[in-house]
Amino acid sequence: MQASHQPPPMPAEQPQRLPRGGRIVNDFSIQVATVNGSGSQTANLVLMRSIFQMGVPVSGKNLFPSNIQGLPTWFTIRANRDGYIARKKEIDFLVAMNPESAREDVLALPPGAAVLYDEPLQLTGLRSDLHYYAAPFDRLVAPVCPEAKLRKLVRNMIYVGILAELLGIDPEQIRKALYKQFGERKKKAADLNWGAVQAGIDYARSNLPKTDPYFIEPMDRTAGKLVIEGNTAAALGCMFAGMTVCTWYPITPSSSLAEALMAFMERFRRDPETGKATYAIVQAEDELASIGMAVGAGWAGARAMTCTSGPGISLMSEFVGLAYFAEIPVVIIDVQRVGPSTGLPTRTMQGDTLKNAVLSHGDTRHPILFPSCPEECFTMAIDAFDLAEQFQTPVFINMDLDLGMNLWMSDPLPYPDKPMQRGKVLTAEDLERLGGFARYRDVDGDGVGWRTLPGTPHPKAAYFTRGTGHTEQATYSEKPEDWIRNIDRIARKFETLRKHLPPPAQFLAAGARIGLVGAGTSRYAMEESRDQLSREAGIEASWMRLTAYPFPPELEAFIEQHERVYVIDQNRDAQLLGLMRLDLPAHCIAKLRSVRYYGGLPLDARTVTEQILAQEVQG
């Protein structure tokens, strides 16, 4: 052990990582390595929440295997006083509970990191440049948890207690977080776990003198904020969008979205008088069926959706083409994971950018929304239902596993400020007045025809929906001129839609010669990398965060303002950049450079910064 003395206290405003012996306050990452299925999730959430409750910006990343029990799993918490919440590449404090991964985990640490480990693992011999803390977890848990079979779960709370003592986390905040986590009904379990936390605190106090520099101190940067998963926020968005039909098939990482939706709808969308449901949620037999049912429901006038991930999207391809061509509203939420094939089903990727933009055969284009935080998962779900019905077309929401399944700090979800946009639907009264209609005629010049819903009580209401060539009156046609007129009108519709998408976010740095462009969860690494480039290399950079496809006119202007623009992709093949190439003029394309990460972990700023610096040096 190198740094065995107690570090002198330093002011909390001290910037950056200090040389050994300094104090590093509210700027470090903790990684808890456990065995999947050992019940560490509760302990980790309590730890994360208590830091959040102390007012310190925090993010939590759950790195889990495609397995129910037995394989290694890691939970990483990053506390950052400046509000950077991307994954931090370096781990500063490791909690090594898993014999299988402990050795590798310790060897991967940067010098000066701290390790709390289960005593029998005997890790001190591996390296001499770390701060080690050993605790006999089995011996500590026995007295606080008389029931032997519960000990496996409860022992995790002991590391929470030890960390609280070592890092200076307020035990009262831990108690609050713990009781919130267990809820009213599980008070007994909460008491048991609270006992374990206290045992950890007591043990650390008497046996583990502090040698590492990491401290949590109270701040005021989380007041009023929520801690919520993207999938939960998206589900809430669907509920407040007035979704009426959701048909889905279980797939990681989107299942928890559908499950959250079921729970909320059960609470808030039953008729108060009759107890009957104002929605239908159906677990279909496969993704072909889930999209098929959603398309059928959209055709018949429901606000219909499905949620899935890459493999499901692949199966939905044919139906999405039908919905595009027959002009049927449907919302498809894609919580992306690593592919191709089964890939890394529990790891994150933005791998469906290109695919979703042009899904299915023939000439197809689909709008995509790219939420980057829970609040946008919520608002964009509402946008998506409005857009789908206004433009009578499938609308994708591209989330990813990082956004969907990890916990994020979020501003409160905002109540929708505009009424539901149900699009162009003719009622029996309208038909009576108009004397009829032509389903696919562009009467308003925006490319969008008027539709009627099945069951509309009027002899002129019906039209025939088909995936084959059709005329403005929806009759069958194989004539080239009918085909071209129709497919061109649908393209016009897409151009109208471009003006109705949520605007991009951008930051223009004075004198910046380079720009960064990213979408979705890339924003966190992108924004932090911008600051790293400025601070560490003196390179000023602007950024633009895309929120939707088709891309906004602002993108072209942004590229024109910069000499080089780095497009950040969480995939091997630079899909976002590729999609930009399809849409942008040549002088813009020439300025594009690529930054890519595709290892399956949430994107970190260091990776982005290093790739940009390497290319900047080359010129």
């Binding site: 159906v282 098929g292 044919e318």
Partner: protein, 346 residues
């Protein structure tokens, strides 16, 4: 239906003549069994006096799937993707459970590419009429065997089918359809009665209709030809349908006929032929189908009927109004609800 030009067109109980029940001109081959089924559907909906706009017609891909364009031109139709009409129809009914949905499918659509959806639709007892226009062959792609082709059946080319067929009626009974029937496109009387009963039924009605393909499967050696059906059609009973609005006293002799009352008050009379057949006995229904298959007979009639099985939309506990038509105040929870939720995540 025959009338002299001088008399006004005959109207049904809601005052409509046949025109709104008809569709565009068929583009199928002359003599195709499917056209006869289309005719029976037109008659059935007209005779029952069903508002054409209340019907939704759905189909997949194939010759059979084209037929929704040929009847009920005042009903919405949806010709979707191959084999997946059970999904679009289920979705449409979730959106609006008041729709009277009819799916017209074929043997390729139902028994091959779409069998996954077919069996799950059975399991759910989705309330719709599901017609399989079964000719044992792929017509639109010019004559390949389908999965309902019988063992030993011959293609025009002489190729012999080496595989056992899938019997959609057996599947239907086994997996949860509450109305399972088989008929023959050439048996006008029986098919007509079965279709009307299926429309009146509350639940999933699967009707497997042997419907010969005159172009690719009506030759010697085919087991789905007109000639084969003439020799092998084995009716279980004679079927009579008496609609709820018919002003006639139903009179039948116990032991000679069975009477079943349907959801809307219509009555089904099954007159005994060689034996008394009870269509509510699931095990027996499976038995007679297996026996008939062994004898090489095509059993027709209402093979299985369960009048009180909960339908999928009932199981889901949907509110009375169609989901598609609910106004914003019923589908967007109030501001206080979101405030409460936000508080829970703080």
């Amino acid at each position: 239906m025959s009338s002299t030009p001088a008399t006004p067109p005959k109207v049904n109980r809601i005052g409509l003549d046949l025109a709104p029940y008809r569709g565009s001109k068929t583009t199928l081959c002359a003599g195709c069994g499917h056209n006869a089924i289309t005719e029976r559907l037109i008659e059935a909906y007209w005779e029952l006096g069903i508002e054409p706009w209340s019907v939704a017609k759905l189909s997949g891909i194939g010759c059979s799937s084209k037929t929704p364009a040929y009847f009920l031109n005042q009903a919405h139709g949806f010709n979707g993707v191959h084999g997946r009409a059970p999904t679009t129809a289920t979705g449409a009914l979730l959106a609006n459970h008041r729709l009277r949905a009819v799916v017209v499918s074929g043997d390729g659509d139902t028994a091959s590419i779409g069998i996954g959806h077919f069996v799950h639709m059975l399991r759910r007892n989705v309330p719709l009429v599901y017609i399989v226009e079964n000719n044992g062959v792929y017509g639109l792609t010019k004559g390949q065997f389908s999965a309902t082709a019988d063992l030993g059946a011959k293609l025009k080319s002489g190729a012999v089918n080496p595989l056992h067929p899938i019997d959609v009626c057996l599947l239907g009974i086994e997996l949860g359809a509450s109305f399972v029937a088989r008929s023959f496109s050439g048996d006008k009387r029986q098919l007509s009665a079965i279709l009307k009963a299926a429309i009146a039924h509350n639940g999933l009605a699967v009707i497997d209709v042997i419907s010969p393909c005159v172009t690719f499967n009506d030759h010697e050696g085919s087991t789905k030809s007109y000639a084969y059906m003439k020799d092998h059609d084995e009716p279980l009973h004679e079927v009579d349908f008496i609609p709820f609005f018919a002003d006639i006293e139903v009179d039948y002799e116990e032991g000679e006929s069975r009477m079943v009352e349907l959801h809307d008050g219509s009555k089904l009379l099954l007159h005994k032929l060689e034996r008394d057949y009870d269509p509510s006995n699931r095990i027996h229904a499976l038995e007679v189908l297996h026996e008939a298959a062994r004898r090489g007979e095509v059993l027709t009639g209402i093979i299985y009927l369960e009048t009180n099985r909960p339908t999928f939309t009932e199981i889901l506990g949907l509110c009375d109004e169609p989901l598609a038509l609910l106004p914003q105040e019923r589908v967007r929870p109030p501001r206080e609800a979101l405030e409460q939720i936000n508080e829970e995540f703080r």
